[in-house]
Assembly symmetry: C2
Homo-oligomer: 374 residues x 2
């Protein structure tokens, strides 16, 4: 029985109102499964299949994808550069394909797609293969076109994802990419075994932290209630929280039809702050990492202009230094894994906002689950 048959036969919503809710709640499990396929937990070491290129030899990695998978790629860029000192270029697939990108002759290219059938991503993969790039893909459907055309497939073990707005596939993609970044760091001599064990250990804690976040959705219902009256939202983050801000905005766009936009927190004062008034809620993703103070300072500029702020952080509300319209508390985790953990609040915010607004969460208007046209 192949996976797609299983998909048709076995999928139901369980005790959840929507597939999206079920898939959000499956994340501790699917992240755990995906991790188990790439990690030897006895020693906290990464164990990958043989790669079609040598991380120590490639000058650069090109990542390409669309939508949510593109944001997973943007997070991975921060990881590869921080932990493997490997330059990474991430591109929207429909852009990379047509922009005469300069690819290193010995380069490697990585493609991310839930369905493995995304037309733009597939076309870009073939373009890169024609340019002599070694091709690795991260897909959820292993008998897909993208998988078939890759030198190596690293599957996400997320199981069938039915909700059009991607949730568990995103965190499963992040899981694979995090393991790949650690492997790259080791291959390039940037991290030693002790650091590898530490990072893998942090990944191993992710399912538990996710489960604790999913235990009480009341705070997300409350924030969703406030957001359901908004027509526009800004989402802010710095560093590896910047792609999360864009993904959070995309989730709101997709299922609540609220015009949310993700912005690098530091860019706000270079224009978009003109939008701020009491009608534009601003959601700030600010783990207490090295960028916390900078992000908080940008947040205070918003507050000073009457913006209603929802803070997602492991910090206490008192540390914000300004009034908060909402405070979503996240467990303290290793800074390496914050993108995986903070994915849960942004999904729950979108989900509860949309259900309160009465939209069709699993089948939002105008959207297809797998985009097989250009």
């Amino acid at each position: 029985v192949s996976q797609s048959q299983a998909q048709a036969l076995l999928v139901d919503k369980g005790n959840h109102r929507h597939f999206m809710a079920k898939e959000i709640h499956e994340q501790p499990e699917v992240v755990g499964h995906t991790l188990a396929s790439l990690v030897r937990f006895e020693t906290n070491e990464i164990e990958l299949p043989e790669l079609p290129f040598d991380f120590a030899a490639i000058p650069r990695l090109t990542i390409s994808a669309c939508g949510t998978a593109y944001y997973a790629g943007l997070v991975a860029k921060y990881w590869f550069e921080r932990w493997a000192r490997l330059p990474v270029e991430v591109d929207i697939a429909s852009e990379l394909r047509y922009r005469d990108a300069v690819l290193d002759p010995d380069g490697a290219a990585l493609f991310i797609s839930q369905s493995g059938e995304t037309a733009d991503t597939l076309a870009t993969l073939r373009h890169c293969r024609d340019q002599g790039q070694a091709i690795v893909s991260v897909v959820n459907v292993t008998e897909s076109s993208i998988a078939r055309d890759s030198d190596l497939v690293l599957p996400t073990l997320a199981g069938p994802e039915i909700g059009v707005a991607s949730t568990k596939a995103f965190t499963a993609q992040l899981t694979v990419l995090a393991c790949l970044a650690i492997a790259a760091g080791k291959a390039r001599g940037v991290i030693d075994e002790a650091r590898e064990k530490e990072l893998v250990g942090a990944l191993g804690e992710v399912p538990r932290h996710m489960a604790s976040l999913l235990r009480d959705e009341t705070p997300y219902e409350e924030v969703g209630h406030a957001l359901s009256k908004a027509r526009d939202v800004l989402y802010l983050g710095r560093g590896q929280s910047f792609p999360l801000a864009m993904e959070g905005a995309l989730k709101l766009k997709e299922i609540s039809y609220i015009h949310a936009e993700g912005y690098a927190a530091g860019e706000l004062k270079h224009g978009p702050i003109a939008l701020i008034d009491e009608n534009m809620p601003v959601i700030v993703i600010a783990p207490r990492d090295g960028l916390f103070d900078k992000t908080v300072s940008n947040m205070q500029e918003v507050a000073a202009r009457g913006g209603q702020i929802v803070l997602i952080s492991d910090a206490e509300a008192g540390e914000a230094g300004c009034e908060l319209a909402g405070h979503l508390k996240v467990p303290v985790v290793d800074p390496f894994v914050t993108p995986l953990i903070y994915a849960i609040p942004i999904q729950l915010i979108a989900y509860h906002t949309a259900t309160l607004m009465g939209t069709d969460v699993d089948q939002p208007r105008n959207l297809a689950k797998s985009v097989t046209v250009e």
Copy 2:
């Protein structure tokens, strides 16, 4: 008398209602001046001062800036990659500084800032200098901090820009960057003299085309009238028109307080198309270049979902293949220079929308002309 004193003494609005209008209309002149400083028109050849690095020897160019200058950098990436086969990484200054970017030991870094005092850009410049990068800056104020800390300054000869929303500084930046890309292409043996003359010739035509666009603003007033009732707008483009879409959205944000967002046209179907209804005008930048058919196809998807479309193009309305709420006709130009030409319509759209809404166009709320804090 230094330039800043001149700025205080000599600047007035001329016959215009706002500094922004005056500055929009100065563009044929300032682009011409800037060009004349970098081009020998007798032979249509680029003539640059001596660079602190050799374009043929650098493996990559890092560009960093904020706001509008960042979008100028994104356009330049397309130019450098297309015409010089030089890989370029463009980063928001507040992001590059803190993200542990991997810089090539023999690399060069380029910074763009109107004021030359942008705090994030200056800090990032110093970070890159500390990492051994050769530093070139494109600034409008040559006695600025960024200019002082650079190995080479390529000034934009835009004159004082008073309107907070950048207009003539943007096109002057694009002019310098286009010349630099041609020089890079020649140094790297990618373009020959004949191609150089052709590209420089196309740049030489820009002031004339800009002036012809500025002769009749009635179509922009009409579009502005329709947009002034909108609260949200999407701006679409592909390839080198993608950064223009983001810049067009930024202009609307800054002075009309409309929540406009720029998107790569090919990404629309991966989420944001859920936002489309008759209340969300969609402005499409689609020069009749190699990407025209792809962009038009994305535009038709929007039209099929009830979206009100304003097309900015050299194509006739009949070529759109769908109903248009507005059609802003642009002269036919060499594809190389479309970002310079299409900058005018996006500025005029924002200007007329904002003046019809009665906002303070020259001093929009919450914004400072030069952002000297992080």
